[in-house]
C-alpha cells in the first residue's frame, strides 16, 4: 500500500438484499491515474458495486477506501466526480443553473464556478445551450451535461456509469477524447461499461464481474498477449492428431471453410514455437499457421462462460 497510492482500495465488499446476494466479493485496487474498466453482464452487480463505493448503498460487509479515505468520507467526495447511469437531473433548471447548483454543493466559490462552468459547457459542446432548460434536452445532451457535472470540481477520481449509452458516434468520440485528456492530467477514471470496444480503446486495466464476484483483473496489454487463437493447415488431419493437439491448448476443432484447417486456442504465445517444433518433429507437414489475438469481446465471453484458456487442464 505504501509503494503505490491507490484511488480505490476495496476489500471484500458485499451486499445482500434480503435473500439475494447482489455482490458477494468486491475486492479491487485501482491505482491513481489509471483508466479502469469495470465489465460484466447486466445484473452482475456492477451498479450495486459502484453505489457501495459512492456511499449510496451501505455494504453488508467489507471495507474500502477512496482516495485513501474511508467510504462515505465527505472530504474524499469533494474530489470525486460521478456520472450516474440514469443521468436524470432536475429538468426545470437550465444547463448553467444545473452546473452552478452542483458546483455549490461541491462547496466551490462563486468565482471558481463562474470561471469553470463556461469552459465545461464548451467541453461537452453545449456552450450555446447554457440557458436552455434541461427538460428540452435530448438524451445525448443530458448525458453530456451530466459528464460536465462530473468534472466540475476538477476531480481526482471520476466514476462514469455507462457514459455513452445515450450518445451517437460523435458523442462517443467526445467522451473518449475527454477520458484521454483526463488520463493526461493524471485523473483516475472508473468506467462502468458493457461496450467492450469502448473499454478496449480507453482503459489501461479491466476487471470482470459475474454473479457478484470479481473474476479477474488484468491489464489490457496482458489480455491481448495472454491467449491466442491459432489456425493450422497441415498435410493430413487425423483424429489422433486432433487429440494430441489438445496438450497445447483447448477448443481444438476442425474447420471446413476454404479447405480443411484446425483451430485451437493457446493459453499464451510462448506455446507457439513449441507447437511448431512438435508438429515438424512428428512428421506433420505444416503449410500454414496463423495466430490471431483475441479481442476483448472474445475474452469477455470466454470469462463469462467460465472458459478459462489460462488453465487448459480440463
Amino acid at each position: 500500500m505504501i509503494e503505490d497510492h491507490l484511488a480505490i482500495d476495496a476489500r471484500g465488499l458485499r451486499k445482500v438484499f434480503g435473500k439475494k446476494t447482489a455482490v458477494s466479493d468486491f475486492t479491487l485496487q485501482v491505482k491513481r491515474g489509471e483508466i479502469f474498466g469495470f465489465l460484466g453482464p447486466n445484473g452482475a452487480g456492477k451498479t450495486t458495486s459502484v453505489k457501495m463505493l459512492l456511499g449510496l448503498t451501505a455494504p453488508t460487509a467489507g471495507t474500502a477506501t477512496l482516495l485513501e479515505r474511508p467510504l462515505g468520507s465527505r472530504q474524499a467526495r469533494t474530489k470525486i466526480g460521478f456520472l450516474p447511469e440514469h443521468f436524470r437531473f432536475h429538468e426545470w433548471l437550465t444547463a448553467a443553473e444545473f452546473l452552478d447548483l452542483h458546483g455549490r454543493l461541491y462547496g466551490m466559490s462563486k468565482q471558481r464556478r463562474t470561471a469553470v462552468i463556461p469552459d465545461l459547457l464548451a467541453l461537452v459542446n453545449l456552450a450555446d445551450r447554457a440557458d436552455t432548460k434541461l427538460q428540452a434536452f435530448s438524451k445525448g445532451m443530458l448525458q453530456r451535461i451530466g459528464l460536465a457535472q462530473a468534472l466540475l470540481n476538477d476531480p481526482e477520481l471520476v466514476f462514469l456509469d455507462e457514459p455513452t449509452s445515450g450518445l451517437d458516434p460523435l458523442g462517443r468520440r467526445l467522451v473518449r477524447d475527454i477520458i484521454n485528456s483526463l488520463r493526461s492530467e493524471g485523473t483516475t477514471v472508473f468506467l462502468n461499461s458493457h461496450l467492450l470496444s469502448e473499454v478496449e480503446q480507453t482503459c489501461d486495466r479491466v476487471a470482470f464481474i459475474r454473479e457478484g464476484v470479481i473474476l479477474q483483473t488484468a491489464s489490457l496489454a496482458d489480455f491481448v498477449q495472454d491467449s491466442i487463437d491459432v489456425t493450422l493447415r497441415v498435410g493430413s488431419i487425423t483424429p489422433q492428431l486432433l487429440a494430441e493437439l489438445a496438450q497445447f491448448g483447448n477448443g481444438v476443432q476442425m474447420q471446413e471453410k476454404n479447405g480443411r484447417r484446425i483451430r485451437l486456442t493457446l493459453p499464451h504465445e510462448d506455446k507457439l514455437p513449441d507447437l511448431v517444433r512438435w508438429l515438424t518433429a512428428n512428421g506433420h507437414n505444416l503449410y500454414e499457421l496463423s495466430p490471431q489475438r483475441l479481442s476483448l469481446e472474445e475474452r469477455f465471453l470466454q470469462i463469462m462462460e467460465g472458459r478459462q484458456p489460462n488453465n487448459p487442464t480440463t
Binding site: F17, A58, R74, Q75, F82, L93, L101, R104, L105
Partner: protein, 285 residues
Amino acid sequence: MTTRQHNYQTIFIIAGLTIRETQRRRILWMTLLLGVGFLAVFGIGFHYIYLELNRQVLNSSELNLVSGVLLTAGLYAINFLTIVIAVLISVTAVSGEIDSHTIEALLTKPIRRWELVLGKWLGFAALLLMYTLTLTGGLMLIVYLRAGFAVQNLPAGMGLMIMQGLLVLTLTIAGGTRLSTLANGVMAFMMYGIAFIGGWVEQIGAMLRNETAVDIGIATSLIMPSEILWKKALLLFLPQSLNSTYGAGPFAVTSRPSDLMIIYAIFYMAALLAFALISFSRRDL
C-alpha cells in the same frame, strides 16, 4: 473548507432549490393566485351578507356572531387547504427524487444526507408559512375591516394553525424517506383523516358526556395531534360566548384540548423530523 459553515450552506442551498422548484413548476404562483381568488370570494360574499344583516337591523352581538361564524368557516377551509397543500407539495420531495434518480448526483456531492432532508423541509416550511399567513391574515383583515370583528390571541392561534401545517408536512417528508410517493400520500391523508374523525368523536362524546368517546378522541390525538391544534387555535381566536353557540357543529369545541397536547405535538413533530433525517441517512438508494 470549514465544515460547520458548509453545513448551513448546504441546507440553505437545498431550501432555496426547493422553493425554486415550486416556482418553476408553477406550483407557487398557482397556489398564491388561487389563494387570492379564495380571499376575493370570501370578501365579496362577506360584504353582501353583512350588508343584508345590517338591513335586517340585528343587534351588535348578533352581528358579531354571524361575523364569527363566517370567519370560522373561512378559517376551517384554509386549515383544510393548508393540510392538502402541505401533503401535495412535499409528497414527492424525497421518494420522487429517488424514483427519478435525480438524488444520485446530489448525494454523491460532499453533503450529508440529513442536510438534504432538512433543507427540503425548511423550503417547504417557508412556503407553507407564507401561505397560511397570507390566507389567514387576509381573511381576518377582511372581517375586521368590514365588520370590526377582531380575533383574540392572534399570534398564539396563528402559531397553532401554522404548526398543524408543519406537522402534516413533517409527517409527509418522514413517510417519503421510506414509502413510495403514492403510499406516502395515502398515509398522510389517512393519518389526517383519523385525527379528524377522532376529533369529532371526542367533541360529540364530550357533549353527551360519554367518557369512552372522549378517550377515543384523545387516543387519536396522541396518534396524530393535528386536529387538536386546529381546535385549540379556534378556541383561542373566538370569544367564549361565540364558541358555546356552535353546539355539535364542525366548529364546536366542547372538550377543551389540554395545553399538554400542544407540548406533545411539538415533541411529536421533533421526533418525526428526527426520524426523517435518520431514516433517510440509513436508506439504501
